[in-house]
């Protein structure tokens, strides 16, 4: 039986997936941040939807309002995250002149190391045993 809650949840899922795909496929870091906002807002939407249409019958207002409160927390966190993220981006741009995430690969080891064969363990006694 379709209710209003289901539709809100479907919308939230669509928003979340759009945001997630945006985080994964977009190269511009600002777009990535915006996608993250989208995902957070999808979460907010589910909070608010559950608060408005509780699954348990007879839930008190105090209980129902917890979802709304959580949404405010998320908004505040998202604002802080956006501020810090943009600040980092500006700093990165000043230094690297780019905001494309696929160019920021310093975490990777620049050269693959396991190219040569490992040396055998040098044991001095081998030589002395051979002489006898």
């Amino acid at each position: 039986m379709p209710t209003l809650l289901t539709e809100y949840l479907i919308l939230a899922a669509i928003l979340f997936v759009i945001g997630g795909v945006g985080v994964v496929v977009r190269r511009n870091a600002i777009t990535v941040l915006m996608s993250i906002e989208l995902m957070l807002n999808a979460a907010n939407l589910t909070f608010v939807a559950f608060s408005r249409f509780p699954l348990v019958a007879g839930m008190t207002v105090q209980h129902a309002m917890r979802g709304q409160a959580a949404a405010f927390f998320v908004i505040a966190t998202a604002a802080a995250e956006a501020a810090v993220g943009l600040a980092i981006l500006i700093a990165v741009f000043r230094r690297r002149e780019t905001t494309h995430v696929d160019e920021l690969t310093l975490l990777r080891d620049p050269e693959p190391v396991f190219e040569r064969e490992p040396e055998p363990v040098p044991v001095a006694v081998h030589a002395s045993l051979e002489t006898h």
């Binding site: 985080v23 190269r27 995430v101």
Partner: protein, 789 residues
């Protein structure tokens, strides 16, 4: 009082002492004369010691309280140990000669303390005991570092500290040109300390520390000139051969501990006495590990049988109640069959338990016999008996004073000492005593034969030492512990003297050791020649000298030994014959050595010169000792020596065979044999040899001479039978276990596995944030699905 030497004797020593003091004070002093003044000082001390020991009045002055005696006992091994530490740490800076003086003085101090202990023993005390501190404890096993002196120890203290002092002194002259003599003196002092710990240790664990310590010092001193690879490997050979014996010693100690629960010699003696009191040497052991294991296995078998019996009853009662397939004939039959099987098994176990209980744990006789046999294996290593004697001739690579002290006079006698010390165990196992005596007799014979073909002066003496140690083992193996240790005592003097004499010869001939190129040295080095002759006569057993009394005492005791007769009546006479043949050999090779070295014309090139007084004075001291030691064999049949040692050693059987009816003919035979060996040597070598190649022994008997010169190819046999297979095994281990399994599979293999996974996984770490985010998202989605579905 045990001590009843003539009254006037102490006046002689007083006079001699005053004479040396006089010389000491009034001879010219100055540069280059320090050694002589030092020597005279030492001689004074020695005479003062003898004076104190022989004088009744002075002796009462040196009677010490138990407390003072305890301090003396501790000081005896401690002084040389201090010297070893001091010289080892600072010797490089104090200088070689001063290091030698320090080492010698400390050993002399130890000698003086030993003389004090000996004086108290002579005055009638039986034993002293001092416990310093607890060394370690594990469960009921508790080892205190205790020192213990009884009459046997007193004798050994005299031999060890006395000969050590003389040889330290001699070493100052012998090592004067060596740049590392300080190291030598540190080792030598350490050796004396370890040997004294071995002698004084009141339990086998402490004794074993000394036992290993002397082995270590022997190794260090054989390889003292380690830059010569042959000498370094001679040291290794000595050490490794001794390890084989030491392993036997350890097993013997474990067995003793598992039976008696203690390693304290006094404790072992008490317990052995208690067992003998109960008449229970053939009875099963009543305490200890073997008893507990036996008891536990009997109990276990019994309880197992009871459990099976219960189970059978349970099956039957269940069947009676109809719980196994109610009403079924097959079920009831099955149950009764099962119960019968269980009953049969239970009764089998019951029978085994009763058998085991009736059979009992191994007997005291068996376990203690095994223990002392393993201890004897330890003794064959340390005291160079068949089959582990092979290291001693090679040990001659060390400096000659070391050969004299360690490899002739003291360390190699540790095995004889150990057996005499544990005589209260050995006497209860005549089988093992017979083994000891047989091994000793065979060693005496074969080593004497091997000495025939040797042309290195020290090698001849080395085989002679092996042979004489064989005599000592015949003595202790025949139950004649006093005779065996008496030979130990006299041998320490004359063999030490022979080695020091050979050292003087080698010193005087610029390191030539080949007797074929010697000859006629009596004219050039008279002191050495005369003392060497005295020692030769002593060792061959020509009548008035000490070797006659000790060696023929052993042969005589072996002939009449009650413990050997208990094994087989012909065994004692057989060992007597073997010993007599070996005595003939001894006379022959010793006089061959003497004639080739000192008589005839000089066949070498270097101009020989007599040794300095620091070396000749010790020679004379030992020569006097070689002659004077004979005095302890008197009065015949009930000698001073035997009475002195009687409290310290056990004897086989209820009553020691009295020497009242002393047959003369074995002595006559022994004298005749010794003289005929001497005569043969005189016939062949009396005139010396014209050229180094004209040895009549090698010309007349080429095949046998070659055999003896090559030591019956024993080294080669060991090489083929033991060392080569061991090497092959070691190489196999190296190739497959070390190089393949450990290096390739484990070490490099672990690295290669890690590397493989690293290669596979490292592309994922590409620094692409989008990819990370995608992987994270997918993983979270996967987790959610897994958690929800």
């Amino acid at each position: 009082m045990l001590f009843n030497l003539p009254e006037w004797l102490h006046w002689v020593f007083l006079g001699l002492g005053l004479l040396t003091v006089f010389f000491w004070l009034f001879t010219e002093t100055g540069r280059g004369k320090e050694l002589r003044s030092f020597a005279l000082g030492l001689l004074t001390l020695v005479f003062a010691g003898f004076f104190v020991v022989t004088s009744p009045d002075a002796r009462s002055l040196v009677m010490l309280t138990p407390h003072e005696l305890g301090a003396m006992l501790v000081a005896i091994p401690l002084l040389p140990l201090i010297g070893a530490v001091f010289n080892g740490l600072l010797g490089k800076w104090v200088g070689n000669q001063r290091a030698g003086f320090i080492a010698t003085s400390l050993v002399v101090g130890s000698f003086v303390a030993s003389m004090a202990v000996l004086a108290n023993l002579l005055a009638g005390a039986t034993e002293f005991h001092v416990t310093t501190y607890q060394w370690f404890a594990a469960g009921t096993f508790d080892v205190h570092l205790g020192l213990y002196a009884d009459h046997l120890t007193g004798v050994m203290l005299f031999v060890v500290t006395g000969i050590s002092a003389v040889i330290h002194w001699y070493s100052i002259g012998y090592m004067e040109h060596d740049p590392h003599a300080w190291r030598y003196f540190a080792y030598l002092n350490l050796f004396v300390a370890a040997m004294l710990l071995l002698v004084l240790g009141d339990n086998l664990a402490t004794l074993f520390v000394g036992w290993e310590g002397v082995g270590l010092c022997s190794y260090l001193l054989i390889g003292f000139w380690f830059t010569d690879e042959a000498k370094a490997s001679a040291g290794k050979k000595a050490f490794i051969t001794n390890r084989v014996g030491d392993f036997g010693f350890l097993i013997g100690m474990f067995l003793l501990f598992s039976v008696f629960g203690t390693l304290k010699i006094s404790g072992l003696r008490t317990q052995a006495g208690a067992v003998a009191e109960r008449g229970g040497w053939q009875a099963p052991v009543a305490t200890g590990l073997f008893h507990d294991v036996w008891q536990r296995s009997v109990t276990k078998l019994k309880s197992e049988a009871a459990r099976l019996e219960n189970h059978a009853q349970l099956v039957e009662s269940q069947a009676a109640l109809g719980r196994i397939r109610p009403g079924s004939a097959v079920g009831a039959q099955h149950a009764s069959r099962q119960a019968a099987t269980l009953r049969a098994m239970a009764s089998r176990l019951e029978k085994r338990a009763t058998d085991k209980a009736a059979h009992g744990p191994p007997t005291y006789h068996f376990l203690i016999g095994l223990a002392v046999l393993f201890l004897f294996i330890g003794a064959t290593g340390k005291s160079a008996q068949i089959p582990l004697y092979i290291w001693l001739p090679d040990a001659m690579a060390g400096p000659t004073p070391v050969s004299a002290l360690i490899h002739a006079a003291t360390m190699v006698t540790a095995g004889v000492y150990m057996i005499a010390r544990l005589s209260f165990l050995y006497v209860h196992v005549p089988e093992v005593m017979a083994v000891v005596a047989i091994v000793g007799a065979l060693t005496a014979l074969f080593a004497a034969l091997m000495a025939f073909g040797q042309n290195d002066i020290k090698k001849v003496l080395a085989y002679s030492t092996v042979s004489q140690l064989g005599y000592m083992f015949v003595g202790v193996g025949a139950g004649a512990f006093a005779a065996g240790t008496y030979h130990l005592f006299t041998h320490a003097f004359f063999k030490g003297l022979l080695f020091l004499g050979s050292g003087a010869v080698i010193h005087g001939l610029a390191d030539n050791q080949d007797i074929r190129t010697m000859g006629g040295l009596r004219k050039h080095m008279p002191h050495t020649a005369w003392t060497f002759l005295i020692a030769t006569i002593a060792i061959t057993g020509v009548l008035p000298f000490s070797g006659f009394w000790s060696k023929d005492g052993i042969l005589h005791d072996a002939f009449e030994s009650p413990s050997l007769a208990a094994i087989a009546p012909w065994l004692g006479p057989l060992l007597y014959i073997i010993g007599t043949v070996a005595a003939f050999g001894t006379a022959f090779y010793m006089f061959r050595l003497y004639y080739l070295t000192f008589e005839g014309e000089y066949r070498g090139k270097v101009h020989p010169h007599e040794a300095p007084p620091t070396m000749t004075i010790p020679l004379w001291i030992l020569a006097i000792g070689s002659i004077a030691a004979a005095g302890l064999a008197f009065p015949l049949g009930d000698s001073f020596w035997e009475r002195f040692l009687a409290p310290a050693v056990a004897h086989y059987g209820p009553e020691m065979a009295t020497h009242a009816a002393l047959p003369v003919w074995p002595f006559a035979v022994a004298v005749a044999v010794a003289w005929s060996g001497f005569g043969l040597a005189w016939l062949m070598y009396g005139k010396g040899m014209p050229t180094p190649e004209s040895d009549p022994y090698f010309l007349k008997l080429p095949a046998f001479a070659k055999l003896t010169a090559n030591k019956f190819y024993v080294d080669e046999i060991y090489q083929t039978a033991i060392i080569k297979p061991l090497w092959r095994f070691a190489k196999w281990l190296h190739k497959w276990v070390d190089a393949f399994a450990i290096d390739r599979v484990f070490v490099n293999g672990a690295a290669q596995v890690t590397e493989f996974f690293a290669k596979v996984l490292s592309p994922a770490e590409n620094g692409d944030l989008s990819r990370y985010a995608a992987v994270t998202a997918l993983a979270v989605a996967g987790l959610l699905i897994w958690a929800v579905v």
